[in-house]
């Protein structure tokens, strides 16, 4: 072993669970079922005594002993994070590169996602069709995708054919050829997809919303670019993205499943050891313009049966010190089925099939978005209810509601680590932001520490009802007059790019 961090074992996940136990114990008492129901799940033999009119009082949650995360590092800077999970003969290999669509240059928007799509379209030794043939023949799947701040190449495979599957995976990741004919094919495909975006109101809303909230900053543009940028991207552009950012010192290989760390390291050295370091420049994320007064941006979709709502503004970065208060606050507002937005707009009013909200926490502040697809005739009523909720969240959240929310967040944590895919997904979310593995260790405690005052503070700090961007995509003719009548904000008619429409 020559790597600096050989053999360090992170206790991160293992001890997350012990903390979970501690806080979860308060849960049954807090549920309010203090009546003399039989203690379950260990009922007395005298079954007849059970009171069926009251929910059972639950025992304490059990301790979950999650497997350790073994961290190692190759001489070229590639970090390995390995979790053993031997329940089924499966493994997930996830190569997380800490750069994505934010690196796109203006005029060449969509370069990162196009480059990543091309990884499976030919290597120096395999054609596109050969790669696909091997994938299907082996019964494995390889996914390559660029998001914001990260590019992910993922293999899910049975361990029985690890050799063949890993060879294919490494070839796709390390030896792309970016064949010109394949680039042209994907370009044509993408141009058609961009045309089809016009069919889908939710996608139109997503694009207009990002453009309006972020202006000229990085997260303003669609990850798949637009027509002009798609036509402009050259082979040299996709290669430049790959050569610049897809480097071992900018990447982590997560391995979860029926594997042994030493064997994984041996394989990683053989397959990825020769991968060359590079100098990875920082990305320029730009600065979104300050939020304007609350404005309704209306995109016309004639005859639409529903109106697509996207409401909010610039939120926070993943590095925020307010991660836990924001998580609790958002879960109360729109982060679970019983959240206020869903209860109000769906379960009380019946305006929608579902309403929700969320903070997309990225390397620099991503969007906060409340959203729903609302029946056209209730567009104005739904807006009024959305506004009520974003105002009401600034008041103190009643303690029972807060406690329910905190318990939900704490107690469902183990469920996020059930399968190899689950574990890989949880860890992959930390990597792009250099969040330490101890994050899950402190998760339950972090939620527990959130006070009503914290929730109120972050609600007031990060959601300003007077400075909201409200994007609504729907049938302008029927909804514009009623939206104006709500007096929530000026109504500006825009197109899919967020620019004023004729």
């Amino acid at each position: 072993m020559t790597s600096r961090r050989t053999g360090t074992v992170s206790p991160a996940i293992a001890s997350a669970v012990a903390l979970l136990l501690a806080t979860a114990c308060s849960h049954s008492a807090a549920r309010g079922s203090t009546t003399a129901a039989a203690p379950t799940p260990a009922p007395a033999a005298t079954a007849a005594a059970v009171d069926l009119t009251k929910p059972p009082v639950l025992g304490a949650p059990k301790t979950l002993t999650l497997p350790e995360v073994v961290s190692r590092e190759l001489p070229n800077g590639l970090r390995l994070m390995i979790v053993e999970q031997h329940e089924l003969p499966l493994a997930d290999f996830v190569l997380v590169v800490k750069s994505g669509g934010e690196t796109d240059e203006s005029g060449k928007l969509g370069t990162a996602t196009l480059a990543t799509s091309l990884l499976k379209e030919g290597t120096t030794t395999r054609s596109s069709l050969q790669i696909a043939d091997q994938e299907a023949f082996l019964g494995v799947d390889i996914f390559a995708n660029s998001g914001w701040d990260a590019t992910t190449i993922r293999l899910h495979t049975p361990t029985a054919q690890l050799d063949s599957a890993l060879a294919l995976f490494a070839d796709v990741a390390l030896h792309p050829a970016f064949p010109p004919a394949e680039l042209e094919r994907l370009r044509k495909n993408r141009l058609t997809s961009l045309l089809q975006v016009k069919d889908r109101a939710p996608e139109i809303a997503n694009r207009a919303y990002a453009a309006i909230v972020f202006g000229t900053a990085a997260y303003a543009h669609p990850l798949t670019g637009d027509e002009a940028s798609t036509n402009a991207i050259q082979q040299a552009d996709v290669r430049r993205f790959y050569d610049t950012y897809v480097r071992p010192n900018n990447a982590t290989l997560l391995v979860v499943g029926d594997v042994r760390p030493d064997d994984v390291e041996r394989r990683a050295r053989a397959l990825f050891g020769g991968w060359q370091r590079g100098t990875v420049p920082p990305s320029n994320y730009g600065q979104p313009a300050p939020a304007k007064g609350t404005t309704i941006y209306l995109v016309d979709k004639p005859g639409a049966a529903q109106s697509s709502f996207r409401i909010g503004g610039v939120g926070v970065a993943r590095s925020t010190a307010d991660y836990f208060p924001l998580t609790v606050m958002n879960t109360v507002l729109g982060g679970s089925f019983t959240s206020r937005l869903n209860q109000n707009l769906r379960e009380t009013k019946g305006y929608t099939y579902g309403a929700s909200s969320g903070f997309a926490m990225r390397r620099t502040p991503g969007p906060f978005t409340a959203s729903a697809e609302v029946v056209a005739a209730k567009t104005d009523s739904a807006l009024i209810e959305f506004m009520k909720e974003v105002r009401a969240i600034r008041d103190t959240v009643p303690r029972p509601e807060l406690e329910k929310t905190k318990q939900y967040l704490q107690l469902q944590l183990p469920g996020r680590f059930e399968t190899t895919g689950d574990i890989a997904t949880q860890l992959a979310q930390l990597v792009p932001y250099d969040v330490p593995l101890s994050f899950y260790n402190g998760y339950t405690q972090g939620i527990a520490a959130v006070t009503p005052a914290d929730v109120q503070r972050v609600a007031r700090q990060y959601i300003d009802p007077e400075k909201l961007a409200i994007v609504i995509v729907g049938d302008r003719k029927s909804i514009e007059p009623t939206l104006k009548a709500t007096k929530v904000g000026d109504v500006v008619v825009v197109d899919i790019t967020g620019r004023p429409a004729m």
Binding site: T192, N342, E373, V375, G415, E418
Partner: protein, 468 residues
């Protein structure tokens, strides 16, 4: 086993776990070497309460989690004329509280215990499920028992009206406001005679949703929501003795219901003659659909039809994808799937031409490829890709407690054997190239429904006859 757009109306997509989506994304396992990936056996215990409730228990102590998954053997195939969509609307109502569970508490109590829940309806069955920390199992069972035994005492019109609005919005969000969203129901209406249980989609029509009455809710509950029409699968970290006691306490006192009305008999047969339909929609590009009648689930030709669908459009090297999308680049996407349900099935091919190309061009190419398939059959490599990729799904479906619980119920419903995965996988292993050629001739050689979805005002793009 093929991707199935028929597969149910979930109560809330927002609650679907990432895990389920990942399971769909990450297929694995291939019998490259025969011994490589045997489908693991799932140990289980199955018994029946005196009131007819079937119980399937399967311990899995790998994580302190548990899943409860209940199948009621009723779906949109049981609906009567004028009440399409009712089985699914009823599913929504099952979450609105019951005698001892005030409105809203079903979700609130489960969330406070770290649990999540959902339900879904398809033509054949309705399922309800919760997944949660193991200590909350008693709560989920108690909630499920209260609504199985005591839904009606607190049932009222406002509950029905509220979920009627939600379901109408589900229809809008999933069908009416989605490009090509009404294609499927258009095809069903032409593929099956009006009296056939599968002639309408599970979501139902707006008119019928409006018509559903409180009396319908009560009758439906009394007819179908009895313990003798349900199977509850419990999978995860529990002690069987404790759980059996709980099940007995909570469900044991629910009275058996009347005998379940038999379903109409259907005859497996092709559509009588080639049928051509057109549907105008708010779309940029037209789309061509071919649909045939096929077979019911676990029919002797079911697996071979799934393999045929894979060979036609299942991967990049498949017949239609490679020729239309990859080589010629005249189509934006292609898909093919066989959907076998309890009584009957359907086989579809879908092609979206790229701008500048027409549905008629697509029809000609599809017909050529089908001709080649039925004349020359398939190669061993094509068969291996299809079999290995299909096999891949078997391990992932049982990776989570919830997936395992649903699978135990699935096989129990169709075969009476909860752990039927090994036999199911064997059906695919046994398919030969000759079988695929034979079913292609036998089913895809028959008359079919051709639907062309066109942009508004572009009916002239409709495929109007069999294109040679």
């Amino acid at each position: 086993m093929s991707p199935n757009p028929f597969d149910g109306q979930p109560r809330a997509t927002t609650l679907r776990s990432l895990r389920q989506r990942l399971c769909q994304l990450f297929l694995a396992v291939a019998p490259v070497t025969a011994a490589a990936q045997a489908v693991p056996a799932i140990a289980y215990e199955k018994y029946t309460l005196p009131n007819g409730l079937e119980v399937i228990l399967s311990e899995d102590h790998s994580v302190p989690l548990v899943a409860v998954n209940t199948w009621y053997k009723v779906g949109s195939g049981d609906e009567v004329a004028g009440r399409t969509g009712f089985a699914h609307l009823f599913e929504h109502i099952m979450f609105m509280g019951s005698e001892n569970v005030p409105v809203g508490k079903f979700d609130q109590w489960l969330e406070a215990a770290g649990g999540n829940n959902n339900g879904s309806t398809n033509a054949d069955r309705t399922n309800y499920y919760e997944w949660m920390p193991a200590n909350a199992l008693a709560l989920a069972l108690w909630l499920d028992a209260d609504r199985m035994g005591r839904l009606l005492p607190t049932m009222d019109l406002p509950k029905l009206d509220l979920q009627r609005d939600v379901v109408k919005n589900e229809r809008r969000q999933s069908y009416d406001n989605v490009p090509y969203g009404r294609a499927y129901e258009t095809i069903l209406g032409a593929l099956y005679p009006a009296s056939h249980p599968y002639a309408h989609p599970t979501i139902g029509s707006m008119t019928d949703l409006t018509s559903a009455s409180l009396e319908d809710v009560k009758n439906f509950f009394r007819t179908y929501y009895a313990p003798n029409n349900a199977t509850i699968a419990i999978v995860g970290d529990f002690k069987p003795d404790s759980v059996k006691k709980l099940v007995q306490q909570y469900f044991g006192g629910i009275p058996r219901g009347p005998a379940i009305p038999p379903r109409p008999q259907v005859t497996l047969q092709p559509v009588p003659k080639d049928t051509f339909l057109v549907l105008e929609d708010k779309v940029q590009l037209p789309r061509l659909y071919y649909a045939w009648r096929s077979v019911k689930a676990f029919h002797e030709d079911d697996a071979a039809l799934d393999v045929a669908a894979y060979v036609i459009a299942g991967d990049k090297n498949s017949r239609l994808y490679k020729r239309l999308v990859y080589d010629m680049q005249v189509a934006q996407d292609v898909s093919a799937f066989n959907s076998s349900q309890r009584l009957d099935g359907g086989f579809q091919i879908v092609v979206t031409p790229k701008p500048g190309h027409t549905p008629t061009e697509m029809a000609k190419l599809v017909n050529e490829e089908l001709q080649r398939l039925t004349n020359d059959g398939i190669t061993e490599r094509e068969l291996a890709r299809a079999q290995n990729s299909t096999r891949a799904q078997f391990l992932d479906r049982i990776a989570s407690d919830l997936g395992k619980a649903d699978q135990l119920n699935f096989y129990n419903y169709f075969t009476g054997t909860p752990d039927y995965a090994k036999q199911d996988a064997a059906r695919y292993d046994k398919v030969t190239a000759a079988d695929v050629k034979r079913v292609a001739v036998a089913y895809l050689g028959k008359p079919h429904v051709t639907l062309t979805v066109v942009s508004e005002g572009k009916r002239d793009l409709m495929v109007t006859g069999v294109v040679q």
